[in-house]
Symmetry: C2
Subunit: 324 residues, 2 copies
């Protein structure tokens, strides 16, 4: 597939989604203060970001509200407190995990909600449940995406089948998700082609959500973009689980559409993200994440090693090779 777009043009189909509260929430258990969330909303509006994700809509029967900040649950009311009537061009998304969201009750009609887009996160093997959630959200009037996680561990034949199922579903977009940060740009190129084929056949857009275990989150995001992928996830300061995500400040520095402004992002990172780091909240590239990414493993062992402050990387490497 030929490269789509070049460095002196821009593609109007590209949309940027800020996932700071949602993926960053995995770092601080969703304890973001309201002034940060309000400032992020304003920064996203000013910088021309297309979507802001406010968190998960997790099932309160399954997760204890006392153990998480409110953006784990991201109710319509909580979002309204930040965005009011959201009289802006910024659209609002939430993520709903298969098996962890009581969607029939907790996702209301779009006409009654500030939310525009429901993103359904699933593994390949729970696709029928994901499609049920997508159909439910679609009936209620929402835009929908399906985010297929842990792609690097899925069998190609299973993935083909999942993509066909999604193609025939009412979903609007399908996301490539490199959960383990283990994929190289040449793999992203091939996977993007595969997703784009299904997207073109069934009229779905394709999105990219990257992790930075091998310092490739930004590179993989723009690589997918050059193959025609159009919905691009990023987070402020790259804040996200483990090694974090594609940084918004890198992505907006790359995109050529003049509607995107880098300055409000830099200011937000300075005023709100750097203080989080200074408080000791940790994310971003580090050797343990490199090693789980290299071995195509879930980052949980690396997250634990970082929390313990382990610096014995070579011992850690031996441990996780044994687990592989």
């Amino acid at each position: 597939m030929a490269q789509k777009g070049d460095l002196l043009s821009f593609r109007p189909d590209i949309k940027v989604l800020d996932a700071t509260i949602r993926d960053g929430g995995l770092v601080n258990d969703f304890y973001f203060k309201d002034d940060l969330v309000k400032a992020l909303y304003r920064a996203n509006v000013k910088s021309g970001v297309d979507y802001m994700e406010f968190g998960y809509r997790a099932d309160k029967e399954m997760f204890d509200e006392d153990k998480f900040g409110k953006w784990k649950f991201a109710t319509d009311e909580q979002i309204r407190e930040i965005v009011g009537e959201n009289d802006t061009d910024l659209k609002i998304s939430i993520m709903a995990d298969v098996g962890r969201c009581n969607y029939k009750e907790d996702i209301h009609e779009r006409s009654e909600s500030p939310v525009d887009l429901v993103r359904v996160a699933t593994y390949v093997n729970t696709m029928p449940a994901a499609i049920d959630m997508i159909e439910d959200a679609h009936r209620k009037g929402y835009e929908t995406t399906c985010n297929i996680m842990a792609l690097s561990n899925a069998k190609e034949s299973d993935l083909d089948m999942a993509l066909e199922m999604l193609g025939k579903s009412p979903v609007d977009g399908i996301y490539i998700v490199d959960s383990f940060g283990s994929l190289f740009p040449e793999q992203i190129r091939r996977i993007s082609e595969q997703y784009m084929e299904v997207g073109e056949k069934y009229g779905k857009y394709i999105g990219m959500h990257a992790h930075n275990n091998q310092q490739l989150a930004f590179a993989n995001t723009i690589e997918s973009c050059s193959q025609g992928v159009s919905y691009l996830d990023a987070t402020m300061g790259g804040m996200g689980r483990g090694a974090g995500n594609c940084s918004m400040e890198l992505l907006l520095g790359f995109l050529k559409n003049p509607k995107y402004k880098l300055f409000p992002v830099i200011k937000f990172v300075e005023k709100y993200i750097e203080p989080l780091r200074a408080e000791g909240i940790e994310w971003g590239f580090a050797i343990p994440y490199l090693l789980t990414g290299h071995l195509n493993q879930h980052p949980r062992a690396a997250i634990a090693a970082m929390k313990e402050g382990r610096k014995d990387y070579s011992e850690f490497y031996k441990e996780i090779i044994d687990k592989d």
Copy 2:
């Protein structure tokens, strides 16, 4: 140009060059302790790295020996103290800067030296001086490369002429150098094609030296590699000026030639690089480097901002836009 190699094969033409002491020396004024340099030498041998660069051979008339560690000058005697007869497969390189190296006197016959490769660093506009240095080193029996710095600021027509001059010179290899860390993978692809054309015409190999201002050092290195570039620079922990370089631990995690071993690199980073960081020696990705990279500027303003501990990124951004 079609992709060269894939993820399940390896190209025997690929060579890895460890530039930790040389580019990392720009961070700590070349004050590396002997035990670190010896351990690095052993780690490079064990991990199958092809070349180790010991520093610059700077002119002692121009630079005060009291103000720099010895690897700014990297004499044959100093290198011998580390490598002895260097009875290994690891080759030794030094860098010689145009205008800052008294090469006629300070670079001796290869038969009397532990050095195998002299890398001549130049800007496009000092190409005649670079070629004089290359011819001198070639006559003395060395392998040679020419590293054309600040490529992103060179005019295409000047670069074409420089590449033709090098093609006709006795140089063995020509390096792409993204000094400002400002280039995106799609630019690297195009530039690699341009260099590879000259390389194929004149029988020169092509190398890549990347900087990490936009978290693309590793991505750009493997992108160039997929276009046929075969000499790849990396440093332990990415240690190098400003945002640093392509990390050796990322590069060896990617390369498929079984001669490359990741474990000795992880161990070296743990034992020798992390303690440097703990001492307060700073390098690696940060917002000020992103901003100079984004604006295609020399990182000197960002280096100064980092040394001052500035966190007012938005003010810094305004200052350097004014200078642009």
